[in-house]
Structures are given as structure tokens and as C-alpha cells.
């Protein structure tokens, strides 16, 4: 596992042409910018309420993996995989609408954060009981298997989640049934405040793969090309009918568990060490060193991204929250399905007001 150098193996493959590399950088940066805006601006200003969970420092995992999917594949991201949603074609505006509980958001204000489902784009979001999506991914793969079209399910979860029974049940199930599931463990060092040595008793959690009859691999989760390459291999294997794979991506959560958590329990030296391995800075340096992109082009990308995020936030904030009385609608899917009707744009019942004047970071 490399640490501060980025791997260059995938550069030998045709997919890694300049356009793909630029796309990767774009999504890495877009994810960082959007999540920073959410966690350090909008939340502090009271424009986003509730729990705020982001994947700062782990962006390479979502980008390197989702970019490998094709139409018909299904991804079940975790709450720290913002980029998976973007790469599957869900707009920033739609993501902000949901974070802000707006009436035209994917959940019409019923669920928060990244619960932006889109079955047509093959995106099935998580529930707060992390790990529950792993058996669901197995069911998705069972359905895909019946279609015999070589499509795969890719499911993300943290290292903390691996202690849950559903992970065992799903990995065993996928192994027994030889399902096209790619299990991606986003090992970010901490599950809320619990470090890995209190979560599991092995050096690399990928040793569990072979125990379920599938390959297990530990890679540098802060190296977007390493993720891209390992996930690409696992997907090819799955498409050929050779069954599931387990990939442990070692990374670090460069923020608290959620926006309210200052993460004082993380030793400063550890954070410093991982800051040097920042996946975006590393990849940018790599692209510049190899003359894949110019500094000028990177600055253009940065400007575009800031404008895109500004625009998406502005647009989302124009949409009102749902009328309170809609809370009782759409519990059941019956003949006259509420979800099939357009959501009326009603007055905003609870206008959000900035509660602090915290400076933008």
C-alpha cells in the first residue's frame, strides 16, 4: 500500500485518458466543495439543520469506484459517499434540496442528508442502521443475476459497520450464491469516537473476504487511481460471473463524526499525518507532475465548481419546505399513490433563519 505517492498502474489502461482523469479530479473537488459548504457554512448558519455527515478525506473512494459503473449497475452508497450520487447523474440541486428538507427534494422532506434515491440511475440510499444495505445489495444482485446482463451491485460501508451481523449475513450470502456484489469498506479510522483497535482485532479487515469465499484486498483509499483499478478488477470479475469481492479502502475521516463533533478524541499527530495524504492534493500534484492537466485548467475547474455549488444552493433555497399536513401522506403505496402526484409548491411553513453569523470557511 503506497502512502504519499499515487499509484500509476491504471495509467497504462485506455480508460485512463486525460478526460477520465479530469473527470475524477472534478468529482473529487466538487464533492469537497459541496460538503465543505454543507458542514462549515450552511449548517453553522442554520440553513441546514439536523445531523450532518460528510466524507472529507475519503472522497477518492466514492469517486474511484462509482466512475467504474455503467448503466444498469446499482450502487448503495454510505452516508460518506457524496460523490457516488453525483457520478450517477443526480444533480447538486437535487442533493441540496434533500439536505434542506425541501418539498421537491427526493424525499419531500421526509428523510435527510444523502437519502436521494433514484432507481432509474441505480442509486439505493442507506438507512441510519448502517449495514442494512448489504443484504439489500445481495437481493439487488439476485435480481440482476436473473436478467443475465452482467450488471453488478456495489455497496459501501464503514469499518465500524463491519462489526454488525448484517455484514456477516450478506457476505456469506453473496459468497454462497456467487453474486455480483462489490463490498467496499471505507475504513476511515474511526466509527464515531471508536478507533479501529476497539472495532476489530486484525490488521486488515480484508482478511475476512477469503473467509466468505471471495477475494479480499486492502488498498490505499486516498489514492483514487488505486481505488479505480481495484474496483475495476472486482467489477470485471463480477461481470464474468465469478462472484463477489471485498475491498478495504484505508483512509481517514478528516472531520468529526458529524458537524457537532469536534473529534477531540483523535490525536492531533494522526490528523496531521493523514493531512499529508490528502487524496485531492495528491491527485492534483500527480496530474501536474505528469503534465496531464495544467495549473490554469485546474483553476478553471475550481472556479466552475464554486459557481455550481453557489447556484445549486441558491436554487434549492428558493423551494419551500413541504406543508406540515403532508406528513401523513404516502405511507402506503396504494391505487391512488401520493408519490405519483406532483408535490404542490406551498408556502414555507418553517422558514429557516440563520442562527449564527459564523464566517464562511
Amino acid at each position: 500500500m503506497s502512502t504519499t505517492q499515487i499509484s500509476a498502474r491504471t495509467l497504462e489502461t485506455p480508460e485512463s485518458d486525460a478526460a477520465v482523469l479530469e473527470r475524477m479530479l472534478y468529482y473529487l473537488k466538487l464533492t469537497r466543495e459541496a460538503e465543505t459548504r454543507i458542514e462549515r457554512v450552511l449548517y453553522r448558519q442554520g440553513r441546514i439543520v439536523g445531523g450532518v455527515y460528510v466524507g472529507r478525506g475519503q472522497e477518492a473512494i466514492g469517486v474511484g469506484s462509482a466512475i467504474q459503473l455503467t448503466e444498469g449497475d446499482v450502487v448503495l452508497p454510505s452516508h460518506r459517499d457524496f460523490s457516488s450520487f453525483l457520478i450517477r447523474g443526480i444533480s447538486l440541486r437535487d442533493i441540496f434540496l434533500n439536505w434542506m428538507g425541501r418539498s421537491s427534494g427526493a424525499t419531500r422532506g421526509r428523510d435527510n442528508t444523502l437519502v436521494v434515491a433514484d432507481l432509474k440511475r441505480g442509486v439505493i440510499p442507506y438507512i441510519s442502521h448502517l449495514g442494512d444495505t448489504l443484504p439489500v445489495a445481495c437481493g439487488v444482485a439476485m435480481a440482476l443475476k436473473r436478467r443475465r446482463n452482467g450488471k453488478v451491485a456495489l455497496v459501501h460501508f464503514g469499518e465500524g459497520t463491519t462489526s454488525r451481523g448484517d455484514v456477516h449475513e450478506a457476505m456469506n450470502w453473496a459468497g454462497v450464491m456467487k453474486l455480483a456484489v462489490i463490498f467496499i469498506c471505507n475504513n476511515n479510522g474511526y466509527a464515531y469516537s471508536t478507533p479501529t483497535n476497539k472495532q476489530y482485532a486484525v490488521e486488515n479487515i480484508s482478511v475476512r473476504g477469503p473467509a466468505y469465499g471471495m477475494p479480499g484486498e486492502t488498498i490505499d483509499g486516498n489514492d483514487v487511481l488505486a481505488v479505480h483499478e481495484a474496483v475495476g478488477r472486482a467489477i470485471s470479475r463480477a461481470r464474468q460471473g465469478d462472484g463477489p469481492s471485498f475491498i478495504e479502502c484505508k483512509s481517514f475521516r478528516m472531520t468529526g463524526h458529524s458537524a457537532h463533533d469536534m473529534a477531540e478524541y483523535v490525536p492531533e499527530a494522526l490528523t496531521q499525518e493523514w493531512a499529508k495524504k490528502d487524496p485531492i492534493a495528491r491527485f492534483e500534484k500527480f496530474l501536474l507532475d505528469r503534465e496531464k492537466l495544467t495549473q490554469q485548467r485546474i483553476q478553471e475547474i475550481d472556479r466552475t465548481i464554486r459557481a455550481e455549488v453557489d447556484h445549486a444552493v441558491d436554487e434549492a433555497e428558493l423551494v419551500p419546505m413541504p406543508e406540515g399536513s403532508t406528513a401523513i401522506e404516502g405511507v402506503y403505496c396504494d391505487r391512488d399513490c401520493w408519490w405519483d402526484k406532483p408535490m404542490s409548491m406551498t408556502r414555507m411553513s418553517h422558514p429557516s433563519q440563520p442562527k449564527t453569523d459564523a464566517p464562511e470557511v
Binding site: 432507481l119 443484504p135 439489500v136 440482476l144 443475476k145 436473473r146 456469506n172 450470502w173 404516502g330
Partner: protein, 324 residues
Amino acid sequence: MPILTYLDAIRQGLWEEMDRDSSVVLLGEDIGAYGGAFKVTADMLKQFGEERVIDTPISESGIVGAAVGAALMGMRPVAEMQFMDFVSCGLDQIVNMAAKIHYRWGAKVPIVVRGPSGAGVHGGPYHSQSNEMWFVHTPGLKVVAPSTAYDAKGLIKSSIRDDNPVIFFEHKFLYRTIKEEVPEDDYLVPIGKAAVVREGKDISVVTYGAMVWTALEAAEALEKEGLSLEVVDLRTLLPYDEETVLASVRKCNKVILLHEDTRIGGMAGELAGLIAEKAFEELDGPIVRVTAPDTPVPFAPSLEEYFLPNAKKVTDAARKLAAY
């Protein structure tokens, strides 16, 4: 018309739905080659193949979770719990995943989780529970509990065609004790409709599952004493049929709420609330509950007999209420 057991009626319903819709698949432990612990899925593997009759590892959470995943991809999975007691291991996937997806983001989750529940076969604490109320308290689910072979077939078919997660409680004591004429046609019994299974005028007994037969036995016995019981079979517990319950209470003016489940938090408490709110003026006596006591289900036949409501407990309660 052929005579079928309650079990065979369920099997026939499943078979017909498998036949008419290739998106219906079965999954569960020992359901394939073995045909299920009670043989509800006997010969299905031979007929429909292993892509549609799926033997799974011992993984109740996996079974329900995979059913949800397959349902999101357009299938209609029917998941068997070998005993409904074991559904506790898959509870999270039912109450947090399956039940809430439609409310959270609008997708259909057409799954059925079915299996044997209830006591009376000396199964002990882990093969006898009536745990239907775990699900009745979960918005987003439908909960069905048939008492007759006819209803069991019609309701399993309705459950499979329903676009919501349905928890289908089969009563294992009824599996082979109930036999009746069941049409071979493709008929449905609607979810959410109760049935008045015996007309009466003095006391309404509202019940479901195996206790329907206990209520009928009590009604038979009391008829000789000139006391007329009406018996309402709820058939569906969520959503339940308020109108039929209230109509029966308004007709008889006295009511006994009967179930095999334990007392606190049981269906009887919910129905008592409904009746107190909507038919208070029409009651000529207290709302009476006849239920199991608040204990786990004991094993030894003497203990189990004490635990379970029976016709004598119902007739005793009815005589007392009649005299009120």
C-alpha cells in the same frame, strides 16, 4: 369443490401466484428440496426451479434484506420465516428498511414475509409466539392473520399482489386441523376487510387467527343457554376494519375482545380504544378482554393449556358480561 387444509390452501395460493407472475420468487430456509419445515412449499422447487425457489443460509436479516433488494428491482419476493418467532432476527430489515422506504422516497416494496405463528402444539417459548403486534405498531406494513383455509388462500394471493410489505401470520395449529372447501379459481380476499363469521345479538366477540375457532366453540355452547354471540374475524390487523367492528358493537352493545397474544399492548387494547372513542354511548357494559397472560409461551402441556385462552374462558367471560 376440493377440500383443502389451511396449509394446502396457502400452498395453492402461492403456487397460483408463482404460475401467473414470473416476478414472484420464494426465499427461505429449507424451502426448496425439503419443501419447508411444514411443507408449505413442497414440490415448488421441482416446478419452478432454483432461481425462483431459493434455499438460503440461516440469515433472517439476510432473507428480508435480500427480499427488499429484489423487490426494488421489480420482483415480488415471498420470504418464509421457518417460525415467526425467528422474525426477530430480521426485524430491523422489516421495520426500518422495508416499512419506511415508500414513506421516505416513494418506491414500492412488494414483499411478503410469511410463516407459522401461534401456540397449541407444545412448541415452547420459541416456536409458539403470537408476535403480530410487533408489526401492527409499524406504519408502512400490512399485517394479515387468516383463520380459515378459504381466507388463507385469498389473502396470500392479495398479499403477493400488494405493493406494500405484508407480514402474513399463518397459525400453525390451524395448518392441518382446519379443512374446508376451497375453490380452485383465482379468487382474492381483500386486505383490510373483517368478516362476521357468526351472526348474533347479545355480545360481539372480536378476534382473529386460531381464536376465531375458540369463539365459535363458545358461541355454540352458549346458544344452548339462550345467549347469542356474534363473532367477528378481523382477518387483517393492519389496516384493520373499523367499520365492521363498530357495526357489530353497535348491534350487540356488549363486546369481548379475544386473542391468543398476551394482554398488554395486544390488539384488544387498540380495539378497546377505538370502541371507547367511537361507540361509547352504545355500550351496555364494560369492554372485556380475554387474552393470554403477560408471560412468554410456556412449554409443558399443563402450562400451555393454562396460558392459552379457550372456549371455557370465553363462555365464563360472556356469562359475566351478559349479567352486567
